[in-house]
């Protein structure tokens, strides 16, 4: 699949512009920082996920002075042309049409425009707290497992119900509260256990892909990558919830469950979060995204559009070169503020100044 054309109106700094990348190869968008390169990737990402990979609100994405932004994309998916149209409202509801039919869920969108994104902020997946690593796994699961969306929703809701009940206990566990807590333990235990199994299975299949990506980026500095799912619940989740009940009531929060789990990443046995160099951490962060990208490619039967934001400033020149020469097949959109490695010249290059000057 590939993006053939993207039209933007009133999106960020673009009053009106047309972007036509190479649908089957790499297109690099070059230009100084703060000129809107990332916004182009952000728009493509929004069409595939319904949200900004920079975590921006719609209010920030719609141009100042406009009430709506219009994003229109034409894609080639399995030999057919697909048109996506998103009307993004600053306030109120936004709507997305796939071939003029309203998209009902994020899954609809992901199936029409699959995207894999890497941005400099992804470094927090390796260096930051466990939430970023859990999100990486859950986002990948939503693309890979049809059942994951419903399970994630159930876990979230059961957790919020159980936590609300714990707060209402105010540190005391009456026998009546205990009887209701039991049924929420059961709900959370059931859905949570399924999520834990899915995440474990994903870690298992992802590990080899991440290691492969890491080694092809790192070259001589190849290291063994291990991904270990750290479960806050020992044994089954349901039993762990029951054991934690007294403590949970005392503290008013759920102390075990998938929301407390972590993904431990190691390089040759060293904890990547605290013991790896920044260069290694960057390389690993990118490898995680590339690993997920490969799994999703296998699942879909075609590669998602790969969006690499400002990736050359993240990597040293040798790694940049290895990345560009060993990119997975399919369409890749890259932004860069720094001079490109020499070999990139073969790929198509778009100057952001051209896009900004376009009034199509």
């Amino acid at each position: 699949m590939g993006l053939l054309r993207l039209d933007l109106s009133s999106f960020r700094i673009f009053a009106s512009t047309v972007f036509e990348p190479d649908p089957g190869a790499t297109t690099v968008i070059v230009g100084p920082n703060g000129t809107g390169k990332t916004s182009i990737l952000e728009a493509v990402g929004y069409l595939g996920t319904g949200r900004s990979f920079r975590g921006s609100t719609r209010e920030a994405m719609v141009s100042q002075g406009a009430s709506h932004a219009l994003l229109r994309a034409w894609l080639e998916v399995g030999g057919r042309e697909v048109q996506i149209e998103a009307e993004m409202a600053k306030v109120g509801r936004s709507k997305v049409l796939i071939n003029r039919q309203p998209a009902r869920s994020r899954r609809d969108l992901a199936e029409a425009v699959a995207v894999s994104t890497f941005s400099p902020e992804d470094l927090v997946v390796v260096r930051g707290g466990p939430a970023g690593r859990r999100d990486l796994l859950d986002d990948a699961l939503s693309l890979l497992q049809p059942s994951a969306g419903g399970i994630l929703e159930d876990v979230d809701r059961a957790l919020r119900q159980r936590s609300a009940l714990l707060r209402q206990c105010r540190g005391r566990l009456s026998s009546e509260a205990e009887a209701t807590l039991e049924v929420w333990d059961d709900r959370l235990g059931g859905a949570g256990q399924k999520l834990i199994e899915l995440r474990r299975g994903l870690c298992h299949s992802l590990e080899a892909e991440v290691e492969r990506a890491y080694q092809s980026l790192a070259g001589d500095d190849a290291q063994r990558v291990q991904m270990h799912y750290q479960c806050s619940a020992e044994g089954g989740l349901l039993d762990a919830l029951r054991r934690a009940r007294v403590e949970d009531v005392r503290r008013g929060v759920s102390t075990v469950g998938p929301h407390r789990d972590d993904l431990q990443l190691t390089l040759n046995g060293r904890e990547a979060r605290s013991q790896a160099s920044q260069g290694e951490q960057r390389c690993l962060a990118l490898s995680l995204r590339l690993g997920v990208h490969r799994l999703v490619t296998a699942q879909l039967g075609h590669p998602p559009i790969l969006l690499l934001d400002d990736v050359f400033s993240e990597l040293d020149p040798e790694r940049s070169l290895r990345l560009i020469t060993e990119l997975p097949p399919g369409q890749t959109l890259i932004t860069s503020a720094v001079p490109l490695p020499r070999q990139v010249e073969a790929a198509s290059v778009v100057d952001i100044a051209q896009l900004r000057g376009h009034h199509g």
Partner: protein
């Protein structure tokens, strides 16, 4: 920009479920135009409904002024089987299947700590009080097939099982996360028919 009585009506209508500010405004201006008789009939219908509708003293379904609800008043109904539902509207859905000939019990909600609803806010005590006097032999848990409905069914199963009666749960197969109210008769009928005994797994 409205006179106080009109503003008042817009506010009151806007508090109804599913009515946004725009619809409230439209309804209020519609009522402004209708003849006084029509407006009075609507106002009277609301007050009369509040005055004369009570909960059935047996099953907590809606009933006419202190009387039994139509189901409990019907002496052909089997009193040994009770179907537990969340909402009076669910009775309509189950009745449409034509597959159930016992009586009902309306909980008026489901367990939902986020909304402050625990067992005390539901008609649970009233259900327990019926078991012995009515000689109930089977309770069918017919709460909604979503997270809160499942939790409520499990809670009731744990309370009722030790009382030595058959406790069953409607079969899955209903749209997950949905409301009973929206299930079609055929699906709901099959779910009732395929109900399974709930056993304590501990």
């Amino acid at each position: 920009m409205y006179t106080p009585p009109l503003r008042n009506l817009v506010d009151e209508l806007g508090r109804l479920p599913g009515i946004g500010p725009k619809s409230a405004q439209r309804l209020a201006f519609h009522l402004l135009k209708v003849p006084r008789d029509d407006a009075e009939r609507l106002a009277r219908a609301i007050v009369e409904m509040k005055d004369r509708t009570t909960l059935c003293r047996v099953c907590c379904n809606v009933a006419d002024g202190g009387a039994l609800c139509p189901v409990c008043a019907d002496d052909r109904r089997d009193t040994t089987t009770v179907c537990v539902v969340e909402d009076p509207r669910d009775i309509v859905a189950v009745e449409k299947t034509g597959q159930f000939h016992g009586r009902y019990h309306v909980l008026h909600g489901a367990l939902n700590p986020l909304e402050g609803i625990g067992p005390e806010e539901l008609k649970v005590r009233e259900l327990l009080a019926r078991i012995e006097p009515e000689g109930v032999a089977e309770v069918i848990l017919c709460t909604n097939p979503n997270l809160e409905g499942e939790a409520t069914a499990m809670y009731l199963a744990r309370l009722l099982s030790p009382l030595g009666l058959e406790v069953t749960r409607i079969a899955s197969g209903l749209p997950v996360g949905g409301d009973l109210e929206y299930a079609d008769e055929l699906t709901l009928g099959r779910a009732l028919e395929g109900r399974r005994s709930v056993r304590e797994e501990n």
